[in-house]
């Protein structure tokens, strides 16, 4: 097939971009994972399975489980908060919907680092929250920072808009007569939600899940800044292999295995979810 210059441009540019910034780095990680670590970081060009062997000795399992738990909880909290929020916005007059969606997207423009430091400023021992509590007479406020709870707070704050957006677009398209039809046929409020609203926005919920759970699973900045030594997540562990442990092949092997794991989990999840014919992100 001959490509017209127009199609070459529209297809070629994104392809080139993805090639340079996605495919090639991915290939580099894949190759590094089967090389020998250099003494001061970097790699030595000699084949070795040491990286993958190292996976067994590292506390990988514990950290993986923790990452799963934190990412899962963050996603769940985002769904619980995001669903009513998306419903609320979708039922507003069109003009108000636009305003709310705009307000919702503002935090997404802000640098992640800034957002996390803002939490530290607010929540550290002499922070604003504790000062206010002190004035109110609370002598020994709880420790807000440096545990899993703080990581969850940061992750939910960061990723909530990514849950609300797809849910909103699903709910906004929802045919309200279906809700009336369900009530007419004897469904109560909860049944209407469970049997009509929820299935109608399954695709939105799935998109929200992907957009929140995967980045939260791989997050390293938020656990690093807001979590303590005991709340290291997989992203942090990988980062440490490159910047501190100086073991690039081990870090690469971790990255490759986590990628495979996430992909496998999504495929299984998708299969289990079954018949839905909605277009899918994977």
């Amino acid at each position: 097939m001959r490509l017209s210059s127009n199609r070459l441009l529209t297809l070629g540019l994104p392809m080139a971009y993805l090639g340079v910034f996605f495919a090639i780095p991915l290939a580099i990680v894949l190759i590094y994972s089967v090389l020998t670590p250099g003494d001061y970081g970097g790699i030595v060009w000699a084949w070795s399975w040491e990286g993958y062997a190292g996976l067994l000795s590292a506390d990988l399992a514990v950290i993986l489980l923790r990452s799963l738990r934190v990412a899962g909880l963050a996603t769940l909290i985002c769904m619980v908060i995001g669903f009513p929020a998306a419903w609320f916005i979708s039922q507003l007059p069109l003009r108000a919907q636009t305003v709310w969606m705009f307000l919702l997207s503002i935090p997404a423009w802000m640098n992640l680092l800034v957002k996390n430091y803002a939490w530290i400023v607010l929540l550290r021992r002499e922070g604003l929250v504790n000062q206010v509590l002190g004035v109110l007479g609370v002598e020994t406020p709880p420790e807000w920072l440096y545990h899993e709870g703080a990581v969850l707070l940061g992750l939910v704050h960061t990723y909530l808009p990514f849950m609300i957006l797809p849910l909103y677009s699903a709910l906004e398209r929802l045919d309200l007569r279906l809700l009336e039809a369900a009530r007419d046929l004897g469904a109560n409020g909860f049944q209407v939600w469970l049997r009509v609203v929820l299935p109608q926005c399954a695709a939105g919920l799935w998109a929200g899940f992907l957009l929140v759970c995967i980045p939260a699973f791989g997050a390293f900045l938020t656990p690093d800044l807001l979590g303590g030594a005991n709340s290291t997540m997989i992203g942090t562990l990988i980062q440490q292999q490159f910047l501190m442990g100086r073991n690039w092949p081990l870090g690469s092997a971790m990255s490759v295995s986590v990628m495979l794991l996430v992909w496998l989990a999504l495929v299984v999840f998708r299969k289990a979810a079954g018949k839905s014919g909605e277009p899918s992100l994977i």
Partner: protein, 344 residues
């Protein structure tokens, strides 16, 4: 006793008075049509009976029970929505089962009754299809089955055939009538299509401006409309103002025509209705004279446009020998019982 009784029901939307103090009753097993132009309040009235709108004042009684403020799910009434509102994520069978499931009917019983419902509308072979795969007429049948399996005492239909093409609409009209007769459920059917109302309803209520102008059988409404709106809304009509010369005579075109019914005050001007098929044409001679302006061939009948004393009349007659041509002069006669006084 009436199955449904509506008592001075009023509903406003801001400044708009959608339903204006309507009172009406519908009997068990009756086919009642609410007919009117869009915006006349018929859909709002229907939605209040279904429980999707609450009246500002007035009461609605079903089977002797006040249901005015009852939630839709607690009413023994089901609504067939204008665009069917089938659940797109459920199969046809699951759609039909939905109401029974909500009522806690056991699975086996549910399946059996849903199967019967689908059979009733000839959709058994589509049980496992998804609604988006069905045509409009098929979706309509499923929507009917979904409502009927709940065995309501009253079924509400909101413009159920409006989205179908003419041929399918006529077929579905026959099916609706059959379904209503077979199940014995009372139907309240909202439509703006006069032919649909005439062919289906036991009684028709003509609505305008949030009120019923006239309620009665199709024949009543067609032959004896109360005013010119009803007359012109149902079928073709010739409406004209004429002077009453004697209690049962009017003068038109220098001639005197007799009309039946209660006499009117001589000397007053009144509005009269004559249906086109009641206008009899003959070779020019004595009596009222008219000139043929246009002839339209409509297959089963011919429609003449006449000019008569400055008025434009329609007349219709079966085609055959003796067909008039444009420009012909004819004499016109009308039997007294078909010359009906109506209020403006």
């Amino acid at each position: 006793m009436a199955l449904l009784r509506i008592e001075s029901v009023t509903r406003r939307f801001g400044a708009l008075l959608a339903v204006d103090g309507v009172s009406e009753s519908v009997g068990a097993g009756e086919y009642f049509c609410m007919l009117g132009p869009s915006g006349c309040g018929k859909s709002t009235l229907l939605r209040m009976i279904g429980g999707f709108e609450l009246p500002d004042s007035g009461r609605i009684w079903l089977d002797g029970r006040d249901i005015t403020y009852l939630s839709p799910r607690r009413r023994e009434v089901n609504l067939v929505f204008q665009n069917y509102a089938l659940f797109p994520h459920l199969t046809v069978l699951e759609n039909v089962e939905f109401g029974l499931k909500m009522k806690g009917v056991a699975a086996a019983e549910r399946r059996r009754r849903a199967g019967e419902g689908l059979e009733l509308v000839n959709m058994s072979s589509f049980a496992s299809r998804m609604p988006p795969q069905l045509s409009g007429g098929q979706q309509q049948r499923v929507a009917l089955a979904r409502a009927i399996v709940n065995r309501p005492s009253l079924l509400l239909l909101d413009e159920p055939l409006a989205a179908l093409d003419k041929h399918l609409r006529e077929q579905m009209q026959r099916e609706l009538k059959r379904l209503q007769t077979d199940t014995g459920i009372a139907f309240i059917h909202v439509t703006h299509d006069q032919e649909e109302a005439l062919s289906l309803a036991d009684r028709i209520g003509i609505m305008q401006g949030g009120r019923f102008l006239q309620v009665g059988s199709g024949t009543d409404l067609y032959e004896h409309p109360v005013n010119s709106f009803v007359a012109s809304f149902l079928g073709d009509s010739n409406l004209f103002d004429a002077q009453v010369s004697a209690p049962n005579r009017l003068s038109l075109g220098g001639q005197e025509l007799a009309f039946a019914g209660p006499g009117l005050t001589p000397g007053s001007t009144h509005r009269f209705l004559i249906r086109p098929e009641r206008v009899v044409l003959a070779a020019p001679g004595r009596g009222l004279q008219a000139c043929v302006r246009q002839v339209r061939y409509l297959g089963a009948r011919l429609e003449y446009e006449l000019e008569l004393d400055g008025l434009r009349w329609l007349a219709s007659a079966p085609p055959g020998p003796g067909t008039c041509q444009p420009g012909d002069l004819v004499s016109v006669s009308v039997a007294p019982e078909y010359l009906v006084p109506v209020s403006a």
